[in-house]
């Protein structure tokens, strides 16, 4: 059975591009447009991995993540943080990775494979 990935990003271009590429790589993909939508989809779809934009309109991601107990989340960020801030963000046990935008799509697929396998 294909592993399921939830992409949470307010940018439609990113959602669609990443969805297409991951589907080509054999993953089942669901998308959400912000943190609140992401939380709802995470509960209903039970994905194996969540790719979550760190800055989106609506409820801040920092407030959504603690509710997603047991989720495996990889942050995707267009904003630049300091090394210390990045380490802090990664402290939460369900945060597994951090990908800086603009990202290399091969690296993204590699990260997804690393966390959920094929």
């Amino acid at each position: 059975m294909a592993k399921k990935i939830l992409i949470v990003d307010d940018e439609a271009d990113i959602r669609n591009t990443v969805k297409t590429i991951l589907e080509k790589n054999g993953y089942e993909v669901v998308t959400a447009i912000n943190g609140d939508d992401g939380f709802k989809k995470w509960k209903s779809e039970k994905p194996d991995l969540v790719l979550m934009d760190i800055m989106m309109p609506g409820t801040p991601v920092k407030d959504v993540i603690p509710k997603m107990k047991g989720a495996k989340v990889v942050y995707i960020s267009v904003v630049r943080t300091s090394e210390a801030e990045r380490e802090d963000l990664m402290k939460s046990s369900n945060i597994k990775g951090f990908i800086q935008k603009p990202f290399d799509i091969n690296n993204l697929v590699k990260q997804v494979k690393k966390f959920v396998g094929k």
């Binding site: 800055m55 309109p57 801040p60 904003v79 630049r80 300091s82 090394e83 210390a84 801030e85 603009p102």
Partner: protein, 172 residues
């Protein structure tokens, strides 16, 4: 970037500085190095204040005369409304709040304002909203003694930079 932003700002009060993503880090350091020593208000919707400090320290940029308005950090971590050298705005979509804070600084006649970046602002706000905001900000700047440089990061002139280029004194 071979031009001197300081020289350009001698003859133009508002400049839109276009740069590619690859050039961004080098260019932003060069601009700040040129303007350091003067009073600078740095508005960021791109890097957090801590990340800017880290970049400036790494590149030996003096920033003790700078004040930062950070619209990123509050969404990522717990920060107060203000701390030494920095004012935190809720998020890059809180344009009224951002406008009020920038307005307060403009009343203090800073020498320079750096807006980093209009492109990132556009990620969190629709283009017409950004145009209205930048337009209003440029009008406020025109009524002050402050000179401003607005960054636009991208490979080509997108819709927002294209629209706001007409209200800038100069586009580089």
């Amino acid at each position: 970037m071979t031009i001197s932003i300081k020289k350009e700002l001698d003859s133009s009060q508002t400049i839109l500085l276009l740069m590619s993503g690859i050039e961004y880090n080098k260019t932003m350091v060069k601009v700040v190095k040129e303007l350091s020593g003067k009073s600078v208000c740095y508005v960021t919707s791109n890097k957090t204040f801590d990340s800017l400090k880290e970049t400036f320290k790494k590149n030996k940029v003096e920033f003790k005369d700078m004040v930062f308005i950070d619209s990123i950090s509050k969404s990522l971590k717990k920060v107060p409304d203000s701390a030494d050298q920095v004012y935190y705005v809720s998020n890059p979509g809180a344009l009224t709040e951002l406008s009020v804070v920038i307005g307060k600084f403009l009343r203090h006649d800073f020498d320079y304002l750096i807006f980093d970046s209009v492109t990132n602002l556009n990620i969190y706000n629709k283009t017409p909203v950004c145009i209205k905001f930048i337009n209003s900000l440029v009008n406020k700047i025109k009524r002050s003694k402050t000179k401003a440089v607005f960054y636009a990061v991208g490979e080509k002139l997108d819709e927002l930079p294209e629209h706001i280029s007409s209200i800038m004194d100069r586009v580089l």
